[in-house]
Subunit: 237 residues, 2 copies
């Protein structure tokens, strides 16, 4: 009996260490998203370079989380629920790593865009999208830590907002390109950035879905609400 409790405690302690790393990773990724968007809007190449350089720390944390999680599984042999928790942490870390990559990619385009004609209100719209996604990520991680399926469900629904923001921006960019071919290159980059932010929202949503599955034991009932903006815009344009 005593031994069993000791094993349980050791698992909890190890899990908390891995979770702490994941939250730290989440914090770095959130900062990267916001700074990448801010650098783009203010044409701040130095801040963009910071975001690029910072991705190494994010990648290193994912590796550490994977190693520690595997060590935890091998050492503590967790059963059903505990094992699912560890595997969920690994999936969250993988999603965060992708978001870090997208932020780095956004930062890479800042220097290029700084040498092209500015495109209306697009950078401001991108910053608002980035802010919405950062909050989605933050709340998805909070939902994980608190095992809060309701908050997770709310995060999941918020993805529709991000999709709508992307939709609007896509149309705006189309008009800029049609008006003046000299805008095309800049708009292609801005469009990529918009799509990448929208994808980060998808990753936040998938973290929220992992949390719902972890807490309730079943995947969200209804299909995720998903507007298909390029489809609509493409159909009309």
């Amino acid at each position: 009996m005593n031994t069993e409790r000791h094993i349980a405690t050791a698992f909890d302690r190890d899990l908390e260490a891995v979770q702490a790393m994941t939250l730290k990773m989440g914090g770095l990724v959130e900062t990267a998203i916001l700074n990448a968007a801010l650098a783009l809007e203010s044409r701040d190449e130095e801040l963009a370079e910071q975001v690029r350089a910072g991705d190494t720390a994010i990648d290193a944390l994912e590796n550490l989380i994977n190693t520690e999680a595997a060590r935890l599984i091998a050492l503590r042999s967790p059963t059903a629920g505990d094992l699912r928790t560890v595997l969920t942490v690994m999936k969250i870390a993988a999603a965060l790593e992708r978001c870090g990559d997208y932020s780095k990619n956004m930062a890479k385009r800042t220097a290029l865009l700084a040498r092209m004609p500015p495109i209306g209100s697009a950078p401001g719209a991108l910053r608002r999208m980035a802010k919405a996604v950062q909050l989605q990520l933050k709340d998805a991680l909070d939902a994980y830590i608190r095992r809060d399926a309701e908050l997770a469900a709310e995060v999941r629904l918020r993805d529709l907002d991000v999709d709508q923001m992307y939709n609007g921006l896509f149309r705006e960019l189309l008009t800029h390109m049609m008006e003046d071919p000299r805008n095309i290159s800049a708009c292609m980059h801005l469009h990529f950035i918009a799509k990448n932010i929208e994808r980060m929202g998808d990753h936040a949503t998938s973290i929220a879905e992992q949390v719902i599955y972890l807490v309730t034991g079943s995947a969200p009932a209804e299909a995720r609400p998903k507007s298909d903006p390029t489809r609509a815009a493409g159909g009309e344009a």
Copy 2:
């Protein structure tokens, strides 16, 4: 002793079952990539619809692989090397699922593009890119099954070809957009498709890197060769 051997055999048998599912999933994804590209080129909306519908089976296989892998870990408590193998299979399944999604996305755009002006040789170039990526995936999975780090390293290097193909197509699309604004919508869709195929190549590369890590115990030494095509093209355009 007898018990130990029995446990080892049970693990091997379970692992083989999960691996078989992963290979089956790989086969479905490879077919989806090729058919999506073919449907696009031949404007075959029926084939595109098949690809879309087929993604459900791919997603279901990923879920099954995750469930079975977790069950395997919980039941057999594999240690270091064996555990790493199971976690690698789960990562491979996640990469394949992403590729399935990209193929579905490509298929979705086929109906739209069929109603827009054709854009030069772009669909043919996309088909060639898709073929190259399908071969990358196939060989990465072969490298996994045969624990062949050399083949995996070769797959990894081939990503440069895909990047170069993407680079060329990106420039071609830019010229079409600049020549005639009525081409812009179609080119935006084709560009997305090209980027998604390029991303599938990245996933094949990451599978190859997992294999290298699994076999040699360390990550590939040199950074992955990576041309940054949009950067170059963007800088000049």
